[in-house]
Symmetry: C2
Subunit: 100 residues, 2 copies
């Protein structure tokens, strides 16, 4: 199987916005919805849908709590999410490093 084979790339992580989400969560987890939104420069709706997708894949866990009286949504990177992230990193690094 070729190093350039796109089917080996995890599509759930590879989506542009989701890539940003995963990268950020790999450094800060859990992260509040609003903080994440600012970091990845997403609209509310867009972030919400992509988080749902990541949650369905088992890569993040959504925790709904409160900060005082306000709702506070925390996004946790799951163990599986971290493992998939590492795998993605390795995959993409080898693809990119082929191109020096």
């Amino acid at each position: 199987m070729s190093k350039f084979d796109h089917t080996e790339i995890d599509d759930v992580i590879h989506g542009r916005l989701r890539l940003g989400i995963m990268a950020y969560l790999s450094t800060v987890s859990p992260a509040p919805f609003v903080e994440l939104k600012g970091k990845v420069n997403a609209t509310d709706g867009n972030l919400s849908t992509h988080l749902t997708k990541l949650e369905e894949a088992g890569y993040v866990r959504i925790e709904k709590t409160f900060s005082g009286k306000k709702p506070l949504t925390l996004v946790h990177l799951t163990k599986q999410g971290r493992a998939s992230w590492i795998a993605y990193l390795n995959r993409i690094q080898s693809l990119l490093s082929a191109a020096e």
Copy 2:
């Protein structure tokens, strides 16, 4: 602007299949259509449409020649394509390296 901002990622290059195409072309240019197809594990139709997209973006140039009597389509990475590829590499490396 955040390092995790997905809007800074070149969407034309970032598409899974196109990423493979660009990576391969960055090492081998020009590459024949059929060779490329094998390397990136694409179907004919899929490769054809993505090449059109890359061509419209000015990242590749399609040259139609013959190998004996058979049609031979060569895909060249353009100067602009290479520049955008380098920019993409830098962009994505910094995103990924944030996640150690």
